[in-house]
């Protein structure tokens, strides 16, 4: 029987899966950070480019300040950044020196664990990123094996990759990432066994989404084959997020494994996210039904519903099934990209254009062109040669291919000046100026957040605007409020 450690993904992947990555502000994270630090998680899946961009764009908060303050509040738990290795915040590929600067600043501000997620499994690119991360001083570097179902992605495929990661001195451990929740218990047995053998002692972690209800069960099987299981807490678990931590711990212990966490605090963390979800009217993840068709098309619910809506707007809803068939065709022709953002959207868009247009690949979105140009890395399988020629022959392809290379930090300094900090430079280089200006103008982020206070504050906001009342009482279970207005306001009305 094994001792299993946990990595919690609530703040990043949970937030992204269930709340569009926009559900948490700095204050809400800092409020629960001390308790999360004491649970005994090995690490938190804490931030990514996307989340740092959201902080600036949606909340006018400094993402670097957020990392620093979280690090201060959490001396015992590793904070993880996850990235592809070739871009930061913007969709454009960055210069390697630029990425080195990103990694340097992440480490200085408190990140100590980084996942290199190359969705195309370009091992050379991953190894290079790992080297840069090590140079930046990252303590723990994780190589990701992104799970998908296709002719190409068999156990041998993943074992080969694992072997290469095992041989890389800059990769400390590996995790199997199953973003669509496709990994069945049976496949988990053979896959994890093969990967573990190939790793020859390097630790292995499993991260599997609950999208079709498989991962909670898969985890029970995986417990004998991995060192770490990744989980989420309370409202941020289940749904298309990861399994609920408390349930996973109970199941593991039931099977005789040990998990060294503070159960009381784990409960408090879950409870906090539940109360936060309620206070902010955010959805809670719930256990999902098993949908076997998902194993075939692998397109997440959100993308499916968007595609259906787009067809409806074009008065072509009956063509939906044809589009789903075309999705399989396009995916094969593009070399089986793993259906993790942005590829499901990309493949669906192309399938849609192919079905509603006069000819297949007559219309090709920029993202697909970039993909074929190799901007996202080398695909696992070959791109169909006819499709490749067709796409690269487009005039737009020539334009995109001719784009100048990404600027180096030195070149960016010339553009933005030498007086701003590296952190500010990295933001100005990748985000609209007015957004960065607004972030700076709004000053330090708030640091406290009490879920229960929100409804009271909202009520007071509402009451503050009323001119017609003298006195008001609100009574509901657990809350009672009385408010009295200045007498003049009634006289005036």
């Amino acid at each position: 029987m094994a001792n299993i450690e946990l990595v919690d993904v609530s703040l990043r992947d949970g937030n992204q899966s269930l709340w569009g990555a926009t559900g948490l502000r700095t204050a809400q994270i800092l409020q629960i950070a001390p308790a999360m630090d004491r649970v005994g998680f090995r690490a938190l899946d804490y931030t990514s480019s996307t989340h740092m961009g959201v902080a600036v764009r949606n909340f006018r908060e400094d993402p670097w300040e957020r990392i620093r303050l979280t690090r201060q509040a959490m001396p015992n738990t590793a904070l993880q950044f996850i990235g592809t290795g070739f871009r930061f915040i913007s969709w454009e590929t960055a210069h390697p020196d630029f990425m080195q600067l990103v990694y340097d600043r992440l480490v200085v501000n408190g990140i100590d664990r980084v996942v290199v997620l190359d969705p195309m499994h370009d091992i050379d690119a991953a190894v290079e990123s790992a080297r840069m991360l090590r140079r930046a001083g990252v303590r723990e570097i994780i190589g990701a094996l992104v799970y998908t179902i296709s002719e190409v992605h068999d156990d041998a495929f993943y074992a080969r990759l694992a072997q290469q990661m095992a041989a890389c001195p800059d990769i400390d451990r590996v995790y199997v990432k199953d973003p669509a929740g496709l990994l069945t218990p049976e496949r988990a047995r053979s896959l994890l066994r093969a990967v573990r053998a190939a790793l020859a002692g390097k630790p292995l972690e499993l991260h599997s989404h609950c999208t079709i209800g498989l991962s909670p069960i898969t985890y029970t099987v995986a417990a004998d084959l991995v060192d770490v299981l990744q989980v989420a807490c309370g409202s941020l678990s289940n749904g298309s997020s990861l399994p609920d931590a408390q349930r996973v711990v109970a199941n593991l212990r039931e099977l005789g494994h040990t998990v060294d966490v503070d159960d009381r605090l784990l409960g408090k963390v879950a409870d906090y996210f539940n109360r936060l979800a309620e206070a902010e009217s955010l959805p809670s993840g719930t256990p999902q039904e098993y949908d076997t068709s998902f194993l075939r098309h692998q397109v997440a619910g959100g993308v499916l519903s968007t595609t259906r809506r787009q067809l409806r707007e074009l008065d072509m809803e009956p063509r939906f099934d044809a589009v789903m068939e075309e999705v399989g065709q396009v995916r094969a022709e593009l070399g089986y990209p793993i259906m993790v953002t942005p590829f499901p959207q990309m493949v669906c868009s192309q399938a849609l254009f192919n079905v509603i247009g006069t000819e297949r690949y007559a219309n090709v979105p920029d993202q697909v062109i970039r993909y074929v140009l190799g901007n996202f890395g080398r695909p696992a399988g070959p791109i169909d040669p006819d499709v490749r020629d067709r796409i690269l022959g487009l005039p737009r392809a020539r334009e995109l291919a001719g784009e100048p290379p990404a600027p180096t930090p030195a070149e960016l300094r010339k553009q933005f000046g030498s007086l701003i900090s590296d952190e500010e430079l990295l933001l100005r280089a990748t985000m609209p100026a007015d957004q960065v200006d607004a972030m700076i103008a709004s000053g330090p982020a708030q640091r406290h957040y009490t879920p229960e206070a929100q409804q009271v504050l909202r009520l007071v906001d509402h009451l503050a605007a009323r001119q017609d009342l003298a006195e008001l009482t609100v009574e509901k279970p657990g809350l009672s409020i009385t408010a009295r207005y200045r007498k003049e306001s009634v006289v005036d009305a």
Partner: protein, 167 residues
């Protein structure tokens, strides 16, 4: 429970309104905020209403609290007032359910007032979700009071009977 920072946030919003008094009662805390004068400065009167949770080891002390004060909630739940006497022991049910005084309807009750009992004497039956379990006296002594009647519902902290403990 609202924190001092939350209350300051509240006052900030209140200050820009025409409200002059605001009271909120929530999570074991009651706060009254009042505006004074045109300058819009505020006072707070806070009361923590949550009851202390005293750990079992020190239960004797809390039962000695002055009458008229709110009852302090303790680790094992409330006890009846007669049980404060150290020589009288309450018999409580293992689970909530329906209490039966006899083995079956029409049969004689297990015990009456005055009966001598040992710790393992069965004094009644509890029916919980269609399952019957015996209720034992728990101490050696004499039944001095029967508090719950036949076929009445009882919670785990209810005294079913009182036993005067044999010294």
């Amino acid at each position: 429970m609202l924190t001092p920072e939350d209350i300051r946030d509240l006052v900030r919003v209140l200050d820009s309104s025409s409200l002059e008094e605001f009271q909120v009662d929530m999570g074991g805390l009651s706060v009254t905020l009042r505006r004074h004068g045109a300058r819009g400065d505020w006072t707070r009167e806070s009361r923590v209403t949550r009851q202390p949770h005293v750990l079992e080891a020190s239960q004797e002390a809390d039962t000695r609290e002055a009458a008229g004060e709110e009852k302090v909630s303790s680790g094992t739940g409330a006890t009846t007032s007669s049980a404060r006497r150290e020589d009288v022991h309450p018999i409580t049910p293992p689970l909530l359910g329906t209490f039966y005084r006899a083995p079956k309807p029409g049969a004689a009750p297990f015990v009456e007032v005055g009966a001598a009992v040992e710790a393992d004497t069965v004094v009644g039956m509890m029916e919980t979700m269609k399952m019957m379990s015996p209720v034992h006296a728990g101490v050696a002594g004499t039944i001095v009071e029967i508090c719950v009647g036949d076929a009445e519902f009882a919670q785990p902290e209810t005294a079913l009977m009182l036993v005067e403990v044999r010294s």
